[in-house]
């Protein structure tokens, strides 16, 4: 009994003796840990402010330099005096033609591809491989697509530097993105929708058309809107396939060269005869392009948010 008792008191005594200092040091450790947390969250928060700040700076800088030239005439008139005055109507129209062309091709092809891959193709290694390939192509630099367009559409198909070549090149640029977002939208449709439709005696196509597509449409649409915004902002792919600095008149056919907003910004600050006088126009064009891109992205965000709420 004696040895056990002594060992017990040995156990208790040190703990008892240490109890108060331990609590105090624990408190200070806790303070230090809290202080460290405050410092680290402060630093990371400052990074976030800096990140958003850079981009606010970009938007503010462009807006401030653009406002002096912004007017209704700026977006509705032809350029005058060697691109130093007047409007940027041809560039805006050129961008509209290029984007309309590319998105109408890519949205139809891309959605059809996604439907085929998710609904019809036998799921297995081949589809998996294609999916990985498409995913990886979405990250290929756009200048590489530009070279492809130059070699195939401009030279091989003989379409020349034209709206058609540029639209097709841009279509290839946005195709992977459209396929991917459409696939995501289709895969998100619950399996039970398909089973219910098939159980009612609908054919495969009727099931896709009336049960699957309607609930995937908002997702597909969001992908297409983002593709429009991407196509409007791309410069490198159209540099070699469609765009030119100056056209005396508006394009008359699909085989004409065009001015385009994104390329116009680049050309105004790197080419031409009056670099300083062209700068305000470049900022004006950048402002218009930013406005288009941001509005499109916002609408995509809103569609996505509303669709998300419904579920």
């Amino acid at each position: 009994m004696k040895p056990a008792e002594s060992s017990k008191s040995n156990l208790i005594a040190p703990v008892h003796r240490l109890a108060r200092p331990t609590i105090r040091s624990r408190m200070s450790v806790l303070h230090r840990r809290k202080a460290r947390q405050a410092v680290m969250f402060g630093l990371t928060g400052a990074s976030l402010v800096l990140t958003i700040g850079f981009l606010a700076l970009l938007l503010g800088f462009v807006a401030r330099r653009a406002l002096p030239v912004m007017s209704w005439e700026f977006i509705s008139q032809m350029p005058r005096r060697g691109m130093t005055e007047g409007g940027i109507l041809p560039a805006i129209l050129g961008t509209v033609y290029l984007v309309a062309g590319s998105v109408s091709v890519a949205s139809i092809l891309g959605t059809a591809t996604a439907i085929y891959l998710t609904e019809y193709a036998q799921q297995g290694p081949i589809v998996k491989f294609i999916r990985a390939g498409v995913n990886n192509l979405a990250g290929v630099p756009s200048v590489v697509f530009g070279l492809f367009g130059l070699a195939v559409f401009v030279k091989l198909f003989g379409l020349g530097v034209s709206i058609l070549s540029g639209s097709l090149t841009l279509a290839v640029v946005i195709l992977p993105t459209i396929i991917r977002s459409a696939e995501e939208a289709l895969l998100a449709v619950p399996k039970s929708y398909r089973e219910a439709s098939l159980a009612l005696g609908a054919t495969k196509w009727q099931t896709v058309r009336y049960a699957v597509l309607p609930s995937a449409i908002p997702g597909i649409l969001t992908g297409c809107i983002l593709a429009v915004s991407r196509a409007a902002g791309e410069t490198a792919p159209i540099m070699l396939t469609a765009a030119t600095f100056f056209t005396a008149r508006l394009p008359q056919s699909m085989l004409d060269e065009v001015q385009a907003l994104a390329y116009h910004i680049f050309a105004l600050v790197t080419e031409g005869t009056h670099p300083e006088a062209q700068k305000p126009i470049a900022f004006g064009a950048a402002f218009v392009l930013l406005a288009i891109v941001i509005l499109l992205n916002l609408s995509a965000i809103i569609i996505r948010a509303q669709h998300g709420k419904k579920e």
Binding site: F41, V140, S142, V269, A286
Partner: protein
């Protein structure tokens, strides 16, 4: 079957990119040789006889990409950590779309911003003859890659199961300890994905470097000199290279190098992302 036809034609287009790039690059690879192309120090495509050593271009690409990552990685990861671990859900739901929106701004606008704001500032700060330098290009590319890095890293951090965080909190860890010792390690492969996607975005970016990097063909020796990365060389020289000339084929060979390197980064990033997803689920 119309659908199948559409699917095959769009896949044929995408596969066609590979075929066309390699076919157009082949004459250059055959005549110059791959090793000479990537190690040769002289890029004089218009001299007689021309010389196609792309090492200065490749080195410049690497230089501005590394520079961009020095800007984008710390800021992007810290921002992502703050968004996912320190912000209330409501603020997060607003800030996340804003960051994603910024990732989609056209690169030519970043180029304009770099030329007119960043470059003059650099010129003044270092008293240089021109502000169009590797440093300016790195800063602009870094700002461009920032939203991508932030957004992808945030996705990874917020995908960490809340059970892990709750367990850590229950053991008495502070939120910062949980974030740095539990969430970050658990999301590490997703964070690497974010960095790799940022690298791939910076290597492949064309307009901003074309406008801001200065365009001088030389082996980079400092961040305060103008350089010409691969993408800028392709964009600047393709307009003047006669179709079918060796210069034309050499530029395609550069595009192949660019394509393969971004593909390597993207494929690794995607593979890591899938691994991460499998782990989380």
């Amino acid at each position: 079957m119309i659908l199948a036809a559409a699917a095959f034609s769009s896949l044929a287009f995408l596969a066609g990119i590979l075929v066309v790039l390699f076919r157009e690059a082949l004459p250059a690879l055959r005549q110059i040789g791959f090793v000479e192309l990537i190690t040769g120090a002289d890029w004089y495509p218009t001299y007689r006889p021309p010389s196609f050593g792309a090492a200065p271009l490749i080195a410049s690409s690497i230089q501005v990409t590394v520079g961009a990552m020095i800007v984008a990685v710390p800021l992007g990861l810290a921002s992502a950590l703050f968004i996912s671990e320190a912000m209330p859900a409501r603020a997060r739901n607003i800030i996340k779309p804003v960051v994603e929106l910024l990732a989609g701004l056209p690169s030519v606008v970043y180029g304009l911003f770099g030329m007119e704001l960043v470059a003059p500032l650099i010129m003044q700060a270092f008293d240089l003859p021109t502000g169009l330098t590797a440093l300016s290009a790195s800063i602009v590319l870094g700002i461009m890659a920032l939203p991508t890095v932030t957004s992808v890293a945030e996705d990874a951090l917020s995908a960490v199961p809340s059970a892990c965080k709750e367990a850590s909190t229950a053991l008495g860890a502070t939120r910062w300890e949980t974030a740095s010792k539990v969430v970050m390690p658990a999301a590490s492969s997703g964070i690497i994905t974010a960095v790799l996607l940022g690298v791939s975005r910076a290597i492949g970016e064309t307009m901003a470097v074309l406008m801001v990097a200065g365009g001088a063909i030389r082996m980079p020796s400092s961040f305060l000199q103008p350089v010409r990365p691969i993408t800028a060389a392709i964009a600047a020289e393709m307009g003047e290279a006669p179709v079918g000339s060796m210069h034309y084929h050499a530029l395609f060979a550069l595009a192949v190098i660019l394509f393969l390197s971004t593909l390597a980064f993207n494929a690794t990033a995607n593979a890591l992302k899938n691994k991460f997803k499998a782990k989380v689920e």
